[in-house]
Homo-oligomer: 425 residues x 2
């Protein structure tokens, strides 16, 4: 059995788990690869730290970029993270030097994926990144290989486990966003600075990678509208339940003449499978032309699930398979595609107003003005001259009408704060 | 762009759809493959039939086995079906002649998969069979490539769409098995002879293929216990709902010292995602060591979903990827593995008895005799001296105890017919 020499750059929880598995399950993994998976080098700052695997016989590099020029390394596993700087330089130089790269770096693949794919093609080596989207869920291989025979109409995903955990906890425990966030931070499910997750950026980066494969385009993070979950209130969650919906941060994209990519909290009918994906789980629902809907669910984060995706990529690369990075030759990928027209949806509104006569008339007048037809309106309880939420769901409408209504609502003196609005799907 | 010459044997609904797509979407599919997908030959009996694609310029063979010796063919797509005879001969001879094979044939892969894998290795060509299990769901690639980095503890699948459709209809419409079966036959969801589906054979063949990849063994259809859905009564479905379960025909396997493969109707807690997989949908839940549970859902049958899997395999083969057929070199696959010990489960019983004094005592005495602890017992309504169902759920027990109880129940004079029993998961 010949061997493949591997170096890991970045020994956080995922990198350490990958190294550990390459040691303790080496026979099992090497048999699958058909080659001896030979970990020879690692890079991290602190050599003295105990990381749960035997570091004693490995070549150690403080500067990860040094790995790219090591003759004896065949495969570089980049687990440093971040779109630019050291990880990018390491991956570029590794590919230029004919080394294959496995990475979990969504920020880098989203921003520089096209250039890296070009380099991997030019230098005839592999670039694998299954772990960059949805942890252990084999969504990249499924889109690119398993479902390559059909066009994809639409992607709908729960791609951020932190947000899904927070929304699930808010619903189950009736707590507000801030309370659950704090608890999630204490438990290690959310970062000290949570904005990357809760503001939807993480999900957006992942979505742009999936869109690239699904629609044959270069990853396009600019052509994407993002809103996170900070404005979701426990009131919305309670009304969602009453109306037969569940709130999830959905990442969705479609390509039809132009590209529409969006990350936003949505009201999902309880009849749809994806509404039942709870806690830290991720899910991706692919609406395909020939095969209908195909959905994959699993753990989208965590050391072991993410390490599984990295290890599976290592095996694939070791087997010598070298498919097109984004499912097509980079020459065939479309660049700078137009923005498409947003689909029509039904919408949910929460409008916080003062409970007094004439307010409802003032609010509903705005909907009438733009011919946006109201399906249901709930104002519950009597609270004269105090703040009450008015909940409105509408019939289907186009995005321009929605924007006009939102603009007028935002200017309305009847509303005590910004109107909250979510798509219903 | 160089080309790959393709022949399709078997022009039923799936074969015709594959041929049609290779014609109308040729540019799209060829770009993905990186090679021109060039359909040159087909085989079927009736040349005059209109099959929705242009047959005029294709080489036509009445005897499919002739295709195996055509020099100009690089890839044979076998869609005839059946474990032996013509399809087996075609696949064997194609591989011997160095042609790659794509097949949807679960019966053949389940029975002869190991020998065919040997042939493909020896002759250095691909053997792909994604369409043989769960239609368009990329479960074979997910198990073999996407999740190769982790051991699989257990597979739990809904692998037969006909059974799932029947059980869903029985529940939603309150109809009995025979009524729904007739309706399914009228709609084309069930065959005129439904036994292959409803008795669990189809699901068992598929399960043996998944077990082979998950556990590194040769497909083993003998080491498998099968019971179908004929004995599931609408009464069971109503009680399942009341008790918080849904009945599904589950195919499950695990390997721990020995192999345990089972196809049987089960009571699934509504809290488990797989309980919500309804109608003709299939699903596979993989319980893995490192990545936890990963579930895939989609259409398990039908011309277009199955054609999607075949087309995706054609693309993969055209790209020249040639992984181990069952995820390991055939030399590494275990043969003739032992039967393992069945897990402990809770169980549901339906016992049809005469509503008269002393009957319950007689029945429950059997459970007491084997120390099988009863969790709940329902006997509803008063129907003196008439037939009533007694519903019993038990605490967890081992399979030997279950068998002893079932034996005594079957001999009991109190029961009017065979006891019905299902695992609760």
């Amino acid at each position: 059995m010949n061997k493949i020499n591997i170096a890991i750059a970045g020994l956080g929880t995922v990198g350490s788990e990958v190294a550990k598995q390459l040691q303790i399950n080496n026979e099992f993994l090497s048999k699958k690869a058909g080659r001896k998976l030979n970990l020879i080098a690692v890079s991290a700052k602190d050599k003295s730290k105990n990381r749960g695997f035997d570091q004693s016989k490995l070549n150690w590099f403080e500067d990860a970029t040094d790995i790219a020029s090591l003759n004896e390394v065949d495969l570089v596993v980049e687990l440093i993270g971040g779109s630019d700087g050291v990880p990018l330089e390491l991956c570029k130089n590794s590919l230029i030097n004919g080394k294959s790269v496995v990475t979990a770096n969504k920020a880098m693949m989203s921003k520089h994926g096209y250039d890296l794919a070009k380099l991997s093609e030019k230098n005839d080596c592999s670039l694998a990144f299954e772990a960059s989207v949805a942890g252990c869920i084999p969504i990249i291989k499924s889109l690119r290989d398993g479902l390559s025979g059909t066009k994809v109409n639409k992607i709908t995903g729960i791609l951020n486990g932190t947000c899904n955990y927070i929304l699930t906890e808010m619903r189950e425990k009736g707590l507000n966003f801030d309370e659950v966030l704090k608890d999630a931070q204490d438990k290690g499910y959310a970062e000290a600075d949570p904005s990357f997750d809760v503001d939807g950026v993480d999900a957006a980066q992942k979505l742009s990678i999936l869109s690239a494969i699904a629609f044959g385009i270069s990853p396009d993070i600019n052509n994407l509208s993002i809103s996170g979950i900070r404005e979701v209130d426990v009131t919305d969650i309670i009304f969602a339940q009453e109306l037969g919906y569940r709130i999830k941060l959905l990442a969705s994209s479609k390509f039809d003449k132009g590209l529409v990519q969006e990350v936003s909290p949505c009201m999902i009918s309880l009849g749809r499978q994806i509404s039942n994906v709870e806690g830290v789980l991720n899910a991706v629902d692919l609406d395909t032309e020939l095969a209908g809907s195909v959905m994959l669910t699993g753990y989208g984060a965590g050391a072991e699930p993410t390490a599984t995706a990295v290890l599976s990529d290592i095996i694939t690369v070791a087997q010598g398979k070298c498919p097109y990075v984004f499912g097509l030759s980079t020459n065939e990928l479309s660049l700078n595609v137009d923005t498409g027209e947003k689909e029509n949806y039904r919408y949910y509104f929460r409008l916080n107003v003062i409970d007094k006569s004439g307010v409802l008339a003032g609010v509903t007048e705005i909907f009438r003005k733009y011919s946006l037809s109201i399906e249901s309106l709930i104002q519950r309880g009597r609270n004269p001259n105090e703040e009450v939420p008015v909940i409105i769901t509408t019939h289907e409408t186009d995005f321009n009408t929605l924007q006009s209504v939102m603009e007028d609502l935002s200017k309305s003196k009847e509303l005590l704060n910004k109107p909250v609005c979510m798509k219903i799907i």
